[in-house]
């Protein structure tokens, strides 16, 4: 399996990329590659990581549709899994990565859809999907729709997730990971608040942190922790993916 991730700017350093590789090495039980599309080929990357120029994915000259580069990955590679850097894989994901669906992403099970998402739907600010962990198998329909409607998409949506939610989840075109596989650290009280709780096993197989929308939307006052700011359960596992500890 070929895994892909994106890195640009200074928010997430080489240790994020390296530990993502380490997590795959531990929790994907078949041969694999990890390619990091980046704007700065960091010499600190593990030598097993393949590096590519993120410009290769910037087909459109835009600062909108945040992380639309993920869609261009699908044009370049018929099948694969894209992973955000700020996720913690902490259990066997082989079945997820080998899923035969043409496009499978995260449904935000932790948010009650009818209560929260539909309330804001008409305002255009709802989003109930997340693209931090996506498997694709040649979704020609999605590539075609995106190319055919790019001008409207670029004008309308600030992020890839909103585009996918409003144009494709709305028409039931997407498939989602089963409830329980992916959790959001910053929603649902998954963080440990006392020492006793730190010994509880993390839920599911993947934990996401999903902090980017705080920067792109105003009025979000929630405290959203990054992966490296999380509690001991998380950082202990995450730091364990360093090469010298595997």
């Amino acid at each position: 399996m070929n895994f892909y991730t994106l890195q640009w700017g200074l928010k997430y350093g080489a240790h994020y990329v390296n530990r993502l590789y380490g997590s795959l090495k531990k929790h994907y039980h078949k041969p694999f590659t990890l390619t990091c599309y980046t704007d700065q080929a960091d010499p600190q990357f593990r030598e097993e990581i393949q590096v590519a120029d993120i410009k290769d994915l910037r087909k459109f000259n835009t600062d909108r549709v945040f992380t639309y580069e993920k869609l261009i990955l699908m044009e370049k590679h018929e099948t694969g899994v894209w992973l955000d850097l700020d996720i913690l894989i902490h259990d066997d994901i082989t079945c997820m990565a080998d899923d035969p669906a043409d496009f499978k992403m995260i449904w935000n099970h932790w948010n009650p859809y009818w209560f929260k998402s539909q309330k804001w739907y008409g305002k255009g600010v709802s989003c109930h999907v997340n693209s931090s962990f996506v498997k694709w198998n040649n979704p020609e329909w999605l590539i075609k729709f995106t190319n055919d409607n790019w001008e409207k998409i670029e004008w309308t949506y600030k992020s890839l997730d909103k585009y996918l939610f409003y144009q494709h989840a709305r028409l039931d075109r997407l498939k989602y990971w089963d409830e329980g596989l992916v959790h959001n650290y910053n929603v649902g009280n998954h963080f440990a608040t006392d020492r006793k709780a730190t010994f509880k096993k993390l839920p599911g197989k993947v934990v996401i942190f999903n902090t980017s929308h705080k920067a792109t939307n105003k009025g979000i006052t929630d405290v959203l922790l990054e992966l490296h700011e999380a509690d001991f359960r998380v950082t202990y596992i995450w730091e364990g993916y360093d090469k010298h500890r595997q």
């Binding site: 539909q118 739907y121 008409g122 305002k123 255009g124 600010v125 409607n149 001008e151 409207k152 004008w155 309308t156 949506y157 600030k158 409003y166 144009q167 709305r170 939307n217 105003k218 009025g219």
Partner: protein, 168 residues
């Protein structure tokens, strides 16, 4: 055109329907204008159910197109995205109540329109509107019947006709 005495319509019953009302500096009143037409389309107006029922009771063919799932089975609503989906925009009057929230539409040439937009910059707004002239340019409104703003100067409207020879 349908000419109906506004007094017969008991418009005051709709005073609380803020999705229809627009408090301009002048006497611009969407409700009164609508009753001069035989067919009207409201684009993403949120809940205007009562007004739609009243219009249709007065032989005005009035529908709303709104992709919000809460309108999936609502009388008078077509539950589609008028920007991305195939929709029939054949009407005498088209009302876009929230221009700031969507891509500038390719409206039929020669159709009368009411365009209202703001620059409140709510999350999700992709087309902030700063003046009536911007609305005119954006939609290629040829003949302008009326234009203006609200009391705060943040919401702008244009009532007019899309250019017959619109260049796309």
């Amino acid at each position: 055109m349908t000419n109906i005495d506004n007094n017969m319509l008991k418009l005051e019953d709709l005073q609380n329907n803020r999705n229809i009302l627009y408090k301009s500096r002048d006497d611009f009143d969407i409700r009164k204008i609508v009753f001069n037409y035989d067919s009207v389309i409201f684009l993403a107006p949120n809940d205007v159910s009562e007004f739609l029922i009243m219009c249709n009771a007065c032989d005005i063919d009035a529908v709303a197109i709104d992709y919000d799932p809460k309108f999936a089975n609502r009388l008078g609503y077509i539950n589609k995205d008028f920007v991305f989906d195939d929709v029939d925009l054949n009407a005498e009057l088209i009302i876009c109540r929230n221009v700031e929230k969507h891509y500038p539409l390719d409206l039929p040439r020669g159709v009368d329109v009411i365009l209202i937009g703001d620059h409140d910059e709510h999350n999700g707004d992709c087309t902030p509107i700063f003046s009536p002239e911007q609305l005119i340019d954006l939609y290629n409104v040829g003949e302008v019947y009326q234009k203006g703003s609200d009391h705060n100067g943040t919401h702008f409207y244009v009532y007019g006709k899309i250019n017959e020879d619109r260049v796309l």
